[in-house]
Subunit: 433 residues, 2 copies
């Protein structure tokens, strides 16, 4: 019996939420793979500014980009097609948004929806697949995991994290050398604020800075000396005592603080700051708040740094493993889709830690959506200020290898898409709520 | 007539002031060259924590380090021997310090003094050479230029600057891509605070981020859109108008602000911040101050980053030209010294910009000491918010080439010295004033 040839349909790809150094590597994996699946997939479209592009029928015709630019996405940070902080509401609250998506998809014969994002986005992808079905427009929805925070469940790690982890570990090691060389006559305390609103994975990665070859002293003396995790309620006195002890014995103290560090009552340190003369909440993040706390208590000379977007866009120091995994989940998403797997997400499966071995598996979107993975207690030292060997064993493979972008005139030669729009087919305009 | 063999004497090397990504490359140049000059130079000593080590007779015996570690200094950031923020007072105010230096030098038969630092340090080196003479202890003093700020006169550029320039240009390009991809639904303004208290060279380097291949738009639309220099008095209204214009036309705005940006009356923006409820000057630098100014005026969603020590220790993204020049001035310093040149400093001479050609010259310390080189007005665009083509032509060669350090377990494998102390010969202790 002859097998029926599947109907060829178009694919839609969108980036969602905060971007990363390797989300475009996932885009590259999706696009290159989709273009090779010409039996199942026709055109590949991307949403300009993520899902907003779908709602407003602002689609980019990816086939109009040169193969060199598509390939170059693998070494280009941030969201080449534009991303969006735009969470679709529940179907009950805003059914119109979902119906509009299906309307646009139908108009452009889109049969595959690849959504590259974090927990919220996986929830959206799941809902689109459900409503498509109920509206008589079946669409294959596959999530592509992305988050710098590493807080997605069910995957061993999340593409985007390895590179920010490497950036933070490298920067901490470098800045700590700076402080160490100046401490006798100058700065005694350095505070480094890193991302991670709810999970402390990025802060934990700073702990990797502390192992240096040929050092006789114990790890305890090596920077970073104090890590503040969102998972550990902040106790001011214990913290200040630890800093004092460190300056007294080591000569200086390097503190890494997660933006999500909070008091036992759940209030973020960043929010608990003082107010200015006009009653405005004090500017800035937790870094300066912690630095000032130390100055007030001990009077030490301090410096602080806030990496902010620098950390999640630092493609110049991306982890090779991370780039490869980002590409692999993009590729796997397409392979799953053309096999007819719907409402799933590829995940990274760890086969072994030393030497590191990984493969790509997949899980139902329903199990991923709206769940968070925090740093487990056994990855944090008993005093709450450092990482354990188990944590190091988990993190080390994720920052392994360098994947330098090409350079031109001394700067990374990042690509930029042409972004040729797909001709609109709908007469209706959609107003974003 | 037979030429008299010069008396062989020991050499002393010290690092001074804020460190850089390549000051150890200069140390490497000094040490490797001195060790090859065995006809003139005996032992090579280094001051532990810079000049403080000389005053307290805390010398490091560099010959006890392995050649691999010495070689490794070329790829290791910060001050491997320790640096110091310690400015010797004028000879009239504290003659004791100078006399003590000569006492220590005499005790260890030090005939060569290599001082690796900025303007202040060149002044100190000059004074040491003068007082040595007047105390009947002739010593050859040669400065080795170092500053991330690039504000030393008479040298075309200063080792340390090229690498921080590259870091800032790369980071600006990367963070700008991040903002561009999120701007439609999220952050509209990104403020990036960089170093440079009195000269805006580092801020100017951010301007290099703005030229990307294959872009049809004019440079005017490319980030960074606004650079705030210490050389240009800050006018609040004109700045806010520029930001608004930029967000309206480009969709977002990237602002790079030098920590030394000041109002027309000379008051730093960072100091002019508000005070908290207890009357403390507001925490933090100029970055959050500028960001808040924009929020108040326009209400845009913003993010800000403060690179602080990260920028000057970022050896992982050092400029190859900078590393080579740093090594070259260290090497030249020793070569000048053994030729009997006293009270001089090697400088970088630009032979051509395109293709870039440079050589090493030298100037008298007396002409360098306590002078500052600012960004000339013709390097800044007429509106005061950007860099000109001439500035770009000057800066581009300085960030050229990559000089990646070796990696181990995903992190740069920076070396650490053993730091074996030289046996003390003096019974007297010296108290730092």
């Amino acid at each position: 019996m002859k097998k029926a040839t599947p109907k060829k349909r178009n694919a839609f790809y969108a980036q969602s939420g905060g971007v990363s150094a390797v989300i475009n590597a996932s885009a590259c994996g999706v696009i290159e793979t989709a273009m090779r699946q010409s039996r199942y997939i026709g055109k590949v479209y991307a949403g300009r500014d993520g899902i907003v592009g779908a709602l407003t029928e602002d689609l980019i015709d990816v086939s109009r980009e040169s193969p060199a630019v598509i390939r170059g996405l693998k070494h280009t940070p941030a969201g080449a097609f534009g991303s969006a902080r735009f969470k679709l509401k529940g179907i009950e609250q805003n059914r119109a948004e979902y119906e509009r998506l299906i309307e646009v998809f139908r108009a452009h014969d889109i049969g595959y929806f690849f959504y590259n994002g974090g927990n919220d986005s996986m929830d959206t992808a799941l809902k689109v697949s459900q409503i498509g079905e109920s509206l008589g427009y079946p669409i294959t929805c596959v999530g592509v995991p992305k988050t710098v925070d590493n807080d997605l469940p069910l995957t061993d790690c999340c593409p985007g994290f390895g590179s920010v982890a490497k950036y933070i570990a490298v920067s901490t090691r470098e800045a700590a050398l700076d402080v160490a060389s100046m401490a006798r006559t100058s700065t005694k305390v350095f505070v480094f604020e890193v991302m991670g609103r709810h999970a402390g994975w990025i802060a934990a990665a700073a702990g990797l800075a502390g192992r240096t070859r040929g050092v006789r002293s114990t790890l305890a003396g090596e920077p970073p000396h104090v890590i503040l995790f969102p998972e550990i309620p902040f106790e001011r006195e214990r913290f200040l005592e630890k800093v004092k002890q460190c300056v007294t014995t080591v000569g200086y103290c390097v503190v890494v603080v997660s933006e999500g560090t909070a008091y036992p009552d759940g209030k973020f340190l960043a929010e608990a700051g003082t107010r200015d003369a006009f009653g405005h909440a004090q500017l800035g993040g937790v870094g300066p708040v912690v630095a000032d706390m130390i100055r007030e208590a001990h009077g030490y000379k301090y410096h602080w740094a806030v990496a902010d977007y620098l950390q999640r866009s630092a493609r110049h120091i991306a982890s090779k493993v991370d780039v490869e995994q980002a590409y692999a989940v993009g590729k796997a998403a397409v392979e799953l889709a053309v096999k007819g797997m719907n409402a799933v997400m590829p995940v990274i499966v760890r086969r072994a830690s030393k030497p590191y071995k990984w493969s790509v598996g997949h899980v139902p979107l329903a199990e991923v959506a709206n769940r968070e993975k925090k740093v487990p207690r056994e990855y944090i030292t008993e005093d709450g200020f450092g990482i354990t060997k188990a944590c190091r064993r988990y993190l080390e493979p994720l920052v392994a290898g360098e994947a330098y972008p090409p350079y031109r005139d001394g700067l990374p030669d990042y690509v930029r898409i042409k972004g040729v729009p797909v001709r609109k087919r709908l007469r209706t305009e959609f107003k974003l709520s």
